[in-house]
Symmetry: C2
Subunit: 394 residues, 2 copies
């Protein structure tokens, strides 16, 4: 464990090319967010509150110098210090920054134009900074965007639907965000890349590492054409906790989360829960009720008010990208008098209007008027005062 030097010189030296040209205060503030990203686990609201109140640098000094901010209780501050202190290591921070530079991982903070302001909806649980492999400006292009997530153990059906949705949406200009995992996530990323659309992967571990390893090529491709993003420093392992926190970030970064396939206890339901809590759109793709891979999707439809998603158009409606086509929700086929008159006619037998009226249970003059209209449509024909249905030109 080595002490942290928050001098402008140390900050500038530590950040190297990760610091844009700017004044001493801005450089120190920037370096302090990097330190914070090492000290805390994602979602640490005590850190979030200290940074919001004091700024990253001054908050960090308060922690290092054991000065409790007025809005924290003694217990909150003491507990937090006990959490953070074991991680105070200039060595570890320096190592991670060297990895970031070597791997071309950029640092994006709230001070940067690329910062995706929608993640601030997480309040004190928002990330302190983001590490981006690829194009940081991709983060600015996510309003609107959609998260397409789901089971690692996807079925061919799920893969197919994820690809169809992602290709249609990304191809139409709506970026597709996912978690880079096997199954649904990978299918969505791949399809978006295939159509030349924007896709962004949010990882639970460091942005320098491909996880899962089998997706090394895919994640490299995403970084090359879009962005691979994490809130934990380079070198961080993708722990279970970080997966859950990554899920909250997927939900926060996007305007809607669509779950394609998910088992009854899938982690995708966690992402969906965050989307609902953040008042983001939430959709689920149904599947056969006999498929365990769709049980979680159906649970979202039943219990969480998720929209039933059957097409990319449904997703666009969820995003409000286009309004509903205005198609009437009126399900009833035409049930008017013309139906009753047609019912009372035959394609074979010729019938007089009085007979048609009796069969239809309608007044004779009504029947005669409708027969006239149907004749104009070519639906019926008349001969010698008798009527029958026109045979369709089969």
């Amino acid at each position: 464990m080595t002490a942290i030097d928050l001098s402008p010189k140390a900050a500038r030296s530590g950040l190297g090319p990760l610091a844009p040209p700017s004044g001493d205060d801005a450089i120190v503030e920037r370096f302090a967010t990097v330190v914070w990203s090492h000290l805390i686990e994602p979602g640490d609201s005590v850190a979030g509150r200290m940074i919001a109140t004091l700024g990253a640098a001054e908050g960090l000094r308060a922690f290092l110098e054991d000065r409790r901010p007025a809005d924290l209780t003694p217990k909150e501050f003491a507990d937090a210090r006990k959490r953070w202190t074991p991680r105070v290591s200039a060595q570890a921070i320096g190592d991670a920054l060297r990895v970031a530079r070597a791997r071309g991982v950029s640092l994006v903070t709230r001070a940067d134009p690329a910062w995706p302001a929608q993640v601030d909806d997480l309040g004190p649980h928002a990330p302190v900074c983001l590490w981006v492999r690829g194009r940081p400006s991709a983060l600015q292009e996510l309003r609107p965007s959609v998260a397409i997530v789901g089971a690692r153990a996807a079925t061919r059906y799920g893969d197919h639907v994820a690809m169809e949705l992602a290709a249609d949406l990304a191809g139409g200009g709506t970026p597709v965000v996912s978690g880079g995992a096997y199954g649904i996530d990978g299918a969505a990323h791949r399809a978006a890349l295939t159509v030349g659309g924007l896709t962004v992967a949010l990882l639970a571990g460091g942005a320098d590492r491909a996880y899962p390893a089998g997706h090394t090529q895919l994640i490299d491709d995403i970084a090359q054409h879009g962005a691979v993003v994490s809130e934990v420093p380079c070198g961080s392992a993708p722990t279970k906790w970080r997966f859950l926190q990554r899920n909250r970030l997927i939900a926060a970064m996007t305007d809607a989360t669509v779950v394609v396939e998910a088992g009854w206890r899938s982690g995708s339901l966690n992402t969906a829960g965050h989307a609902a809590a953040l008042s983001r759109g939430l959709g689920a793709v149904p599947g056969p009720v006999t498929s365990a891979a769709s049980a979680g999707s159906h649970r979202l439809l039943r219990e969480c008010g998720a929209e039933c998603i059957t097409s990319a158009q449904d997703v666009r409606e969820l995003l409000g990208v286009t309004v509903s086509s205005g198609a009437s929700a009126d399900n009833a086929p035409a049930t008017d008098d013309a139906t009753r008159v047609r019912d009372a006619l035959s394609t074979r037998a010729w019938r007089i209007p009085a007979d048609v009226a009796r069969r239809a249970g309608m007044a004779l003059d009504e029947v005669e008027a409708i027969l006239g209209l149907l004749r104009l449509e070519g639906a019926v024909e008349r001969a010698d005062g008798e009527w029958r249905l026109t045979r369709s030109p089969a």
Copy 2:
């Protein structure tokens, strides 16, 4: 066309064994409902209002003698008379009654204990009487009951799900109502019969006729063990109008309608619309979004607030037969401190608590406490002050 004789003698003679032993007024009233069922098409609200206000016999006399009831406008009454007059035929009524007696079709009116009072929710559109082949008392056993309906052109998936639902529900004592058609309807009826449960078929044509003809044996079986019901007289053809009106009756007769598979413009959506309008439960079984046979079900989920039905238990919840199991809707897997401690441990490397605390981003004393608890659970093991995860017994 022959005149209608509403004398007690004529009524008693016309009804024959279809009249229970009762006084003259009751017999005439009963016969008058039969006449009404000949004069009108299902759902005729002017007839419904006249019968509600004046009674069937007196309403009929008012029509035959051209005496307008006070609550009908001159136009309403004149239009109705023009509809009904072509059907005034003692001959046709007598013929239909003879067929009913020959085929063992019973007459159920509002005066009978078997009358299913829930259909009166249709108000003036309620049927004037019901014709029942099979056991009329089955109509009393439909609270609660479920309608399982859907596409004639069902897929194997739809057939399978309809059978699973119907067998579970009917086997568990919840009667299954459907329309006797090919596809979903037939699968539901068959499965209910197979498990010895009650099933009722509502037909669009006369109860004496099997429609479709290919379901003659099935409809006979339903009549033998349950009931085959229609509101139109024996001999009536199943016209398109009557199918639509039959659908309203299926919805009204049951506590919930479940659509298993339905195309985008399926007639099942008409039944579903009636169920929703009558404040009955409405459920839809999802399927692959790639299947046109599920497009109507998904439409109900998207546009009509239908419940997503994945199992018979879901239907029971819709019916309120059992309350929800109380399972929490909280989707989040456990995200507590124990998760973070486990994340920081390995099954291979032994680690000291300070190392675990740093990895977990938690205070040392918390980590030590949690390690102690995990050890009690057998989840971790300790040696020489170092800890690791217990390997699961393969």
